[in-house]
């Protein structure tokens, strides 16, 4: 920014800890246009002074040297189209956590101010983008979830398009007679809503339906997706703003359940086979065409089983109870027995369990099924570990396997790996490469032809999956967080769920789709930096086509042209800065977050000479978890080493390794990165940031060793948001390590 004013708060113990006149000298040296102190800058009088400087003196860069940037954010917000605000943390990082009126404390305060001034000199205002945005929501899948989503989109004021691969709408519920109750009364089955829903959708002029259709290609970005589809031989295309993927689930392949008798006897069937018979009104044993006297249901058939599906499919207990109730109502003479590991009917479904138990001939018992054998016209079900306390055998006419659900997802990442490997074989560059690629193709070939969305994305044609084939990421706090902006999973594709949950999930996902469209129209990013109007700038003249940015963006923002030059899709971008961290040529920047701005912070302060015995340490702290935790430590007045200079970063993945090189070449003695947890249960808000940072730091440490510098000089630490007591420990321990390493030999060069 051109005209920078420094506004120092002297309250909250700051003036007792720091000599304010030395801050003024530092500000003057940097040619600050104004230097104002106030004993309580956040109170209306203080804010008025800042506003006055903006209005009267044309200050466009406001450096607020006061509390942490997490405090008083609303108070310290000025017209974002005219003013950039930089927060220098004198309260938490200096006054509350350092010895007052001490040489090291004073040096820290001055350095922090100089760093803030350096940064604000390098950043600029965001220029919001205005793009032509389609307000249509595309719903992929015309089952209960998809139909509910399409209807909700219209009710929210957005037209919808449904693409269904079958010739008719309705999906799984077309085969069902009754459903699990969504509302009271909970003690019995509810009417199937699908018929009415299909009618409503078909009658709605705002909803366009394509049945017997599939997607050939999804090009573009949220707000501007061009979707090409084929139904019957004709290709068509639609323009949509966001996508709800509701492709549902399929029953687990029962042919893998031979230990439960499937395939051994025609009278061992799946819950889906049974459902169709109930709906048809004709319940017979397929083996002999007789009406069964007794049916045994085996729960968790394929679910909660390390050899099959490790997860619980969530809906099978409810579905079996529903079937027992339907059979009791429609075919009164059939006895039903249910063998379960645990009866899972959470919440009000407990009433359903009780109601079905009381009103039917059902015998529900806990037990582990050892095996199922064909016997005469029926089957023997052998139980061990039963409530009856011993091994028992139940004779039955029909066995129903309550098979679990498998999401109809496509593993975008795996498909992309498969396609890349195939390309390597065609290229035929070396024998080993071809051999490796051939092996990879073999291991991934089951992904062949599984594409659903057919996204024209560098990182693969479908949503990445997290675990157990469910496309997911932050499934607790942000269940609709997606790794492909503008595309939201819903229903049984999203997580194992029953029909009432699928209806709710459809509303949630469609809200996110509509929200994405509305945010695009306002030129704003979506979660977690919702409202951010900045976009990245790629200085492509200097791009070397290394493809790191296109590979590493967690959200698939970047495509590549034929040469491998990145193509930035602004509306896919989430502003995390991971591309900026990845780029070895340092050509990617955001208006308020640039490689140069942070590099300038590193260069802004004086590094003491070796004989001063004052080591200097750069600490890059993730603003999401580590920095808030440090604020809390300071609020509890926990002290930490004053040699450390903290730079907040958007994510550890948004740390460019050049900042480490810059630090070392300036004679800074150590660099520590503190951020969120990585791994399977990652807490990184940008999913892969911590993981990527860790890989990059491994490379940095190797480089250090080549330069005969101790690898301990660079460290990466993970911690959780609540570990406020650990952050100062981590910093102090690192400072000790650096002290032991001795001064950086590059000091003074």
């Amino acid at each position: 920014m051109d005209k920078v004013g420094v506004f120092v708060c002297t309250g909250c113990e700051i003036k007792d800890a720091v000599k304010i006149d030395e801050l003024e000298e530092a500000a003057n040296e940097q040619n600050a246009a104004a230097f104002v102190t106030h004993e309580c800058l956040c109170e209306p009088g203080g804010i008025a002074q800042i506003q006055k400087s903006i209005d009267d003196d044309g200050i466009d860069g406001v450096v607020i040297a006061a509390c942490s940037h997490r405090m008083k954010q609303k108070e310290f917000t000025f017209d974002p189209t005219k003013v950039v605000v930089e927060r220098v943390c004198l309260r938490e990082q200096v006054a509350w956590s350092k010895k007052p009126d001490d040489e090291d404390t004073q040096m820290l305060a001055v350095d922090l101010l100089q760093m803030g001034l350096a940064r604000i000199g390098k950043v600029k205002l965001s220029e919001p983008i205005k793009e032509e945005i389609s307000d249509t929501v595309l719903v992929v899948g015309g089952g209960l979830t998809g139909l509910t989503a399409a209807k909700a989109a219209v009710d929210l004021g957005h037209p919808a398009v449904i693409i269904e691969k079958e010739d008719q709408l309705g999906g799984y519920l077309n085969d069902c007679k009754d459903v699990i109750p969504e509302h009271p009364p909970y003690d019995t089955v509810a009417a199937n809503p699908i018929g009415q829903l299909i009618k409503d959708v078909q009658a709605n002029e705002q909803i366009k339906v394509f049945t017997g259709a599939r997607i050939i290609a999804t090009k573009g970005q949220p707000g501007q997706f061009d979707v090409e589809l084929q139904n019957g031989g004709a290709a068509q295309s639609v323009k949509v703003g966001a996508i709800v993927q509701a492709t549902g689930a399929r029953p687990y392949d029962a042919s893998k359940l031979t230990h439960l008798g499937y395939g051994m006897s025609p009278n061992v069937i799946t819950s889906h086979d049974l459902e169709k018979m109930i709906t048809a009104g004709e319940l017979i044993c397929p083996g002999n065409g007789q009406i069964p006297n007794r049916i045994v249901f085996i729960q968790c058939a394929g679910s909660r089983d390390e050899n099959h599906l490790k997860y619980c499919s969530s809906e099978c207990c409810g579905t079996t109870l529903k079937q027992v109730a339907s059979i009791n109502r429609d075919f009164s003479d059939i006895e039903c027995a249910v063998i379960y590991k645990d009866m899972r009917t959470p919440g009000q479904l407990e009433h359903f369990y009780q109601g079905v138990q009381e009103s039917t001939h059902g015998m529900l018992t806990r037990g582990e099924v050892d095996k199922v054998e064909a016997h005469n016209n029926g089957a023997h079900v052998h139980l061990k570990d039963s409530l009856l306390g011993e091994d028992v055998t139940i004779e039955t006419d029909l066995v129903v396997l309550a098979v679990g659900m498998v999401p109809n997802s496509a593993d975008g990442h795996a498909i992309r790996e498969l396609n890349d490997a195939k390309l390597r074989i065609i290229k035929n560059e070396s024998e080993t490469q071809v051999a490796d690629a051939t092996k990879l193709v073999e291991s991934l070939k089951h992904h062949e032809g599984t594409e659903i969305l057919n996204l024209d994305y560098r990182q693969g044609p479908d949503l990445p999956i997290l675990k157990y084939d469910f496309p997911d990421s932050h499934y607790i706090c942000f269940p609709y967080e997606t790794r492909r902006t503008g595309i939201y999973a819903a229903g049984a594709l999203h997580a194992p769920m029953d029909t009432p949950q699928a209806i709710e999930d459809a509303y949630g996902a469609v809200m996110k789709a509509v929200q994405c469209i509305e945010s695009n129209a306002r030129g704003e990013a979506v979660h977690p930096r919702a409202g951010d109007q900045s976009i990245a700038d790629f200085f492509l003249q200097r791009c070397t086509q290394c493809k790191r940015c296109t590979e590493e963006c967690p959200f698939g923002t970047l495509n590549e042209d034929a040469k491998g030059t990145p193509e930035y899709n602004t509306l896919r971008c989430r502003r995390c800065g991971i591309c900026l961290g990845a780029c070895p040529e340092r050509i990617i920047s955001f208006p308020e977050y640039t490689v140069d701005a942070v590099a300038s912070m590193i260069k802004a302060f004086e590094v003491p000479e070796e004989e001063d015995e004052k080591p200097r340490i750069m600490a890059f702290l993730c603003e999401n978890d580590a920095l808030p935790a440090l604020d809390e430590a300071a609020a509890k007045r926990i002290q930490w080493n004053p040699w450390i200079r903290i730079v907040p970063v958007r994510c550890l993945g948004a740390v460019n390794t050049v900042w480490i090189a810059d630090s070392l070449s300036r004679g800074i003695d150590g660099i520590v990165l503190v951020g969120c947890k990585r791994g399977d249960d990652y807490q990184c808000h940008y999913i892969q940031g911590s993981e990527l940072a860790n890989t990059r730091m491994g490379n940095v440490q190797e480089t250090l060793e080549r330069l005969t510098l101790e690898s301990e000089r660079v460290k990466i630490v993970e911690l959780a948001r609540d570990e406020f007591h650990r952050v100062p420990q981590v910093l102090d321990e690192f400072a000790e390590t650096i002290d032991e390493c001795g001064p950086n030999p590059y000091k003074g060069f």
Binding site: G11, C67, Y186
Partner: protein
């Protein structure tokens, strides 16, 4: 674009459900008023140490949510505020809000000088009364808004210590309550839950035996900011327990208490079994259950705990808990596997108490349809959407999904003629 509503959406309750619903509506472009009766947002979730199944801290997601709230000028957050009257009109709702006196106002910087001099002690509501705190204080370490709060009823007569200590004129002991009437195009009820009272579980020693605690107390105990600074200790003597029993369905699935399943208690106990074993590797843990309910990917937690050394899962309903020898406890249960009534011992018992809807006592003066268990039901026609545990017992992930859907429904309801 045209999803905006004419009037703001009112969200009642700023726990994880209310905060999520408010943000999703606001980020879509609607104006929102978010009302919370406590001095800070976050409700029950911020009283948890970790979430299952990942065992990660709730403050992590809540940090993102508070940043979202601060950046978004469309949400107006009113803490220390209750709904006192709500009238349905042709175009939505007219709602009367009563805000408690702002004894500490927005000028508060959170410097903490007032708490240093406060002579009055009160049970700490954030720690469920398990320890004492000062009458004037930050509600808790993660509190947002960061403004301090004062329990005026605890002030000694004529005490002005905090007023004198405050350099920023942020404290006004004579502040008065404020009423305000707002128009809302629809209302999201996210009033949440409270734990089933321990005292009602007399057969399990609830409220009588010191070493019988509730699962919610265990969460506070293991939190670094909790009453024991994260240590699991027996309330009777402050020693770490050697034998911990978790009693499932303590009140839930029981016609004498709560007839429904509270949906989260199995997973809460599995998670807490991990806390105990990680902190006290010598301690034995037994979980007594009727059914182990860990739906979906939450099964991973059950698998993990079932494979842990020192943890036993026993199918059986505990019917009675009595004082045993010393400060030990005697548990009587029906061991379903063994098919008999057995007695067993523990030196600390965690009752997996269930969730009671906060709509139970009629605190929210709205004409709301409820089911027999006092969980609320949606009505698009009446422009009232119920979300989270006010609607049914469910875990945090389900609450947030539900909240997002509720945001959609609230806009749809608002747009209805």
């Amino acid at each position: 674009m045209n999803t905006m509503t004419k009037q703001p959406i009112l969200v009642v309750g700023a726990g994880i459900t209310g905060v999520s619903a408010a943000l999703e509506a606001a980020e879509t472009g609607c104006d929102v008023i978010l009302v919370e009766r406590e001095p800070a947002i976050g409700g029950r979730v911020l009283r948890n140490h970790n979430y299952f199944p990942k065992l990660c801290p709730p403050a992590c997601g809540m940090e993102i949510n508070t940043r979202r709230l601060e950046r978004n000028s469309r949400v107006r957050v009113l803490t220390n505020t209750r709904v006192t009257e709500a009238n349905a009109g042709a175009d939505g709702w007219s709602v009367k809000l009563a805000s408690a006196p702002a004894y500490v106002n927005d000028r508060c910087t959170g410097c903490g000088e007032c708490a240093k001099v406060c002579p009055a002690k009160v049970p700490d509501p954030h720690n469920l009364g398990m320890n004492e705190t000062t009458a004037i204080r930050s509600p808790h370490v993660d509190a947002w808004p960061t403004t301090y709060t004062l329990d005026r009823s605890a002030c000694p007569a004529d005490c002005k210590a905090c007023v004198e200590a405050c350099k920023y004129e942020a404290i006004d002991l004579n502040a008065s309550a404020k009423d305000e009437t707002v128009s809302a195009s629809s209302v999201v009820v996210a009033t949440g839950w409270h734990p089933y009272p321990l005292e009602k579980l007399t057969e399990l020693g609830g409220g009588e035996l010191k070493n019988v605690i509730a699962n919610v107390n265990m969460e506070r105990m293991v939190a670094p900011t909790g009453p024991t600074e994260g240590k699991i200790l027996k309330p009777s003597n402050g020693e770490p327990p050697k034998k911990v029993a978790f009693v499932q369905c303590a009140g839930s699935r029981d016609v004498n208490h709560l007839p429904y399943c509270s949906a989260v208690c199995c997973l809460a106990s599995l998670k807490q079994a991990i806390y105990v074993r990680e902190q006290l590797p010598e301690a034995e843990v037994t979980i007594y259950y009727i059914d182990r309910r860990a739906p979906g990917r939450n099964e991973d937690v059950l698998t993990r705990v079932a494979e842990m050394d020192g943890v036993k899962l026993v199918k059986g309903k505990v019917g009675k808990i009595e004082q045993g020898q010393g400060d030990g406890l005697k548990l009587r249960l029906e061991d379903v596997e063994a098919g008999q009534i057995v007695e067993t011992e523990a030196d600390m018992v965690v009752l997996a108490t269930g969730m009671v809807s906060n709509l139970v006592n009629g605190d929210l003066p709205m004409n709301l349809t409820k089911d027999e268990d006092n969980f609320g039901l949606d009505s698009l026609e009446q422009k009232v959407i119920v979300a989270g545990v006010a609607r049914r017992p469910e875990d945090v992930a389900a609450c947030v999904r539900d909240a997002t859907g509720a945001a959609a429904k609230s806009v749809i309801a608002a747009r209805r003629a």
